[in-house]
């Protein structure tokens, strides 16, 4: 039996951040790899594997409740273009995302069931 990982701690710029459970989604920025065939004739093929470095961008998405404190945090992250560091910690997980920017323009809903969606993108994962 294995237990799925759903409850990591997120620290952004040294501050522990409260998020809506189950909304964290991340990509390590290893890049997309395309695989194409090249022919040697007589039905013999070889494959060419190429990493598309243009796609080597990590992302880190999550949602937060629209509290005054959370809105202030999101505002500060949005202004710190390329200067945010995200640490994602849990059992067997210790990921550091560097030079992250908030790429979306976060919306702040005035409702008790609304959420702020935050989308970071930046350097590929270093750890």
């Amino acid at each position: 039996m294995s237990v799925g990982f759903t409850d990591g701690q997120i620290r952004i710029n040294n501050v522990a951040v409260p998020v809506v459970p189950g909304t964290v989604n991340r990509k390590k920025g290893r890049g997309e790899t395309s695989v194409e065939a090249q022919s040697l004739g007589a039905g013999i093929v070889d494959t060419v594997h190429t990493v598309d470095t243009k796609t080597m961008v990590s992302f880190f998405h999550f949602s937060m409740k629209p509290t005054v404190e959370n809105m202030a945090l999101v505002d500060a992250w949005k202004l710190a273009v390329g200067l945010n560091t995200i640490k994602y910690i849990g059992e067997e997980i210790n990921e550091v995302y560097e030079q992250m920017s908030v790429t979306n323009d976060p919306e702040y809903p005035d409702s008790n069931d609304g959420v702020i969606v935050v989308e970071f993108e930046g350097n590929p994962l270093i750890k």
Binding site: R11, A16, A80, N84, T85, K87, E98, Q99, M100
Partner: protein, 159 residues
């Protein structure tokens, strides 16, 4: 002399986020207490003085049975040993009945107080936060508590 801050170098460096990158931090700067942290400073001050009072009581009980010449020798030796270190202060506070856990919690609240513009404690120019404090080594925490007392609370060091 009134001090406005003191610096401390960590024995065990910690990783912190700074300007978009994760860096190894070793230097801590702690600023003098303001009323923003008066409750917490009061706790440490109370526990420090309580331990001091217990120490005086205990030593006067012991010295009662010792000749004045020996007492003089002990006092001379203590003077020679010079300044007391932060770790030593914490050790003696523990020995003489201070609630040291209460002091550590108070220290955490003090060092993590303030905001980014006006922090009470900086670690390599970043504000000290609860996760950073939690990652400090225990030995360093003891030393910082002691240095805080020596620099900002222990009036006997003024002379």
């Amino acid at each position: 002399m009134y001090k406005t801050s003191f610096n401390y170098e960590l024995k065990i460096p910690v990783m912190i986020a700074s300007a978009g990158q994760e860096v190894k931090a070793i230097s801590i700067e702690v600023f003098a207490p303001t009323n923003q942290v008066m409750n917490e400073v009061g706790i440490i001050d109370f526990e420090f003085n309580k331990a001091g009072k217990n120490a005086i009581k205990e030593s006067s009980d012991v010295l009662k049975d010792i000749s004045p010449e020996v007492v003089e020798k002990i006092q001379k030796r203590e003077k020679k040993e010079g300044e007391i270190s932060g770790r030593q202060i914490v050790k003696e506070m523990t020995m003489y009945g201070a609630d040291i856990n209460r002091c550590f919690f108070a220290l955490k609240n003090i060092l993590t107080a303030g905001n980014k513009e006006q922090p009470v404690c900086k670690i390599d120019n970043e504000k000290m936060t609860a996760p950073i404090f939690d990652s400090l080594g225990f030995d360093d925490t003891k030393s910082i508590l002691g240095e805080y007392i020596i620099n900002f609370l222990d009036i006997s060091q003024d002379t």
